[in-house]
């Protein structure tokens, strides 16, 4: 008889088992034994399940360690690449003296990216160039393109440091297409860049601007902001440009400031007052410039970034961001 049933009989029936109750007690005894059996079965099953869970957990932890380790290798590699890319950008302290003001905001989306800026050497004529480039993509592929483009610029200016902006852009287009093996016919290549060049001539008090996909904003003494539109041409792609980019000459006046921005800020998605997703846009960019009190490059950039971030809200940063703001030296 089951021990529990024996105890209960002793307690409630003084150990006596009346004859007529035997079938009933037999059934209760069997029920207790079945319960015991079921309980043992459940305990065993639980134990096996716990063991399996432990094994699964250990496996997951081990996989997580592997993944973390792989991620760390990738992040280390990107850190290294970041130092390499930052090393390739101009040292702003070394070139600042060529300008009355120079401020640069360079913020890749993923630590490294396809936006970069460049300053050419000063030729015997005294002319030099400040250049903004926005290569396709961001992150590692963007940075690889940026490396190619910056090398090509060095190559181009080593032939003639006084090349005009439009000539440099055309050569950059051709060399990039070649450098990426993107032949014109039948190629499905999809990489290239936008670029804008401002050549500053301290002696003639003029600048020459030519841009492909990157506009030049001019803020005059009056505070009025003028947008000089870039040409509708993209550089390096298999689709050959149908025309040469336009080039304009701007006479320098005192207190003028110029800005060039890659599309990362202009196209940043935010939520409009009507609750709809929309890009920050060139109009809001212009308004941010107009609302900045002083023609101070740092203040202008800070104001744009602030307005853009307010606009962006919780939306992800979509692209690399870069603004060049400068005021040429005036005699």
């Amino acid at each position: 008889m089951h021990k529990l049933l024996e105890r209960q009989l002793r307690k409630y029936l003084k150990g006596e088992s009346p004859e007529e109750l035997m079938p009933f007690l037999g059934a209760v005894d069997a029920a207790y034994c079945d319960l015991d059996h079921d309980k043992k079965f459940i305990e065993n099953t639980l134990e096996i399940s716990l063991k399996e869970l432990d094994a699964l957990n250990a496996n997951l932890q081990s996989k997580q360690k592997e993944l973390q380790s792989a991620l760390n290798v990738i992040l280390d590699s990107i850190d290294y690449a970041t130092r390499l890319q930052q090393g390739q950008l101009p040292d702003i302290h070394k070139v600042k003296s060529r300008f009355s003001q120079l401020e640069v905001y360079w913020q890749p989306r993923d630590q490294i990216g396809g936006d970069f800026w460049w300053v050419s050497p000063v030729g015997p004529s005294g002319k030099f160039n400040i250049i903004a480039v926005d290569c396709t993509g961001h992150g590692v592929p963007g940075a690889m393109l940026a490396l190619l483009a910056s090398n090509l610029l060095g190559q181009i200016y080593s032939i003639d440091v006084d090349f005009e902006p439009v000539e440099v852009l055309m050569k950059l287009d051709e060399l990039m297409r070649l450098g990426l093996n993107q032949k014109i016919d039948g190629s499905i290549g999809n990489d290239g860049c936008d670029a804008a060049i401002v050549q500053i001539d301290p002696n003639s008090h003029t600048i020459i601007y030519s841009g492909c996909g990157i506009d030049l904003y001019e803020i005059g003494r009056s505070g009025i902001v003028q947008r000089h539109n870039s040409s509708n041409i993209s550089l390096g792609y298999p689709v050959l440009p149908s025309k040469a980019p336009e080039q304009i000459i701007i006479n320098l006046e005192p207190d003028q400031v110029f800005l060039m921005s890659s599309d990362g800020i202009l196209d940043q998605i935010g939520i409009s007052p009507l609750g709809r997703k929309m890009s920050f846009g060139s109009t809001r960019f212009k308004i941010a410039l107009e609302n900045t009190l002083r023609r101070d490059c740092q203040e202008l950039i800070e104001n744009i970034i602030q307005e853009m971030n307010v606009w962006r809200g919780r939306e992800q940063v979509r692209d690399d961001q870069m603004i060049l703001a400068f005021a040429p030296l005036t005699l």
Partner: protein, 126 residues
């Protein structure tokens, strides 16, 4: 050819192809990390459509396109422009919210570059 429907994801647009109307449409945002890998089947489909004398309608309702995507669309428009030059009717319907000048400008730039395509600008009011 059968109809196609690719649902949008957080980085890629919704794509539809309606075979009976020879109509393709893109809607949403486009900023995939690898634009070529996402768009390749679509570019291939367009290449096949352009092998025969088919009129085509392509609708765009995109609020954001990264530079890689713009490169793809340029590629696409180049193929479509050649198709139009051969005498086929190609219509691009460029939709943009009426306060979104920048999206409209992108369409205008494409219109300027690919002049054999018939562009229809379609501002959307909220």
């Amino acid at each position: 050819m059968s109809d196609v429907h690719i649902k949008s994801s957080d980085r890629t647009p919704e794509f539809k192809f309606i075979s009976s109307a020879c109509e393709l449409s893109f809607s949403g945002e486009s900023y995939p990390e690898n634009a070529l890998s996402f768009y390749k089947p679509i570019l291939e489909k367009i290449a096949i459509l352009c092998e025969s004398d088919t009129p085509l309608v392509i609708k765009f309702k995109l609020i954001y396109m990264n530079s890689s995507s713009l490169g793809i669309f340029r590629n696409m428009m180049n193929t479509l422009n050649a198709h139009a030059k051969r005498g086929n009717k190609v219509v691009v319907v460029w939709m943009h919210f009426d306060d979104d000048d920048d999206t409209r400008e992108i369409g205008e730039d494409f219109h300027e570059l690919f002049s054999s395509i018939e562009f229809q600008f379609s501002p959307i009011t909220d």
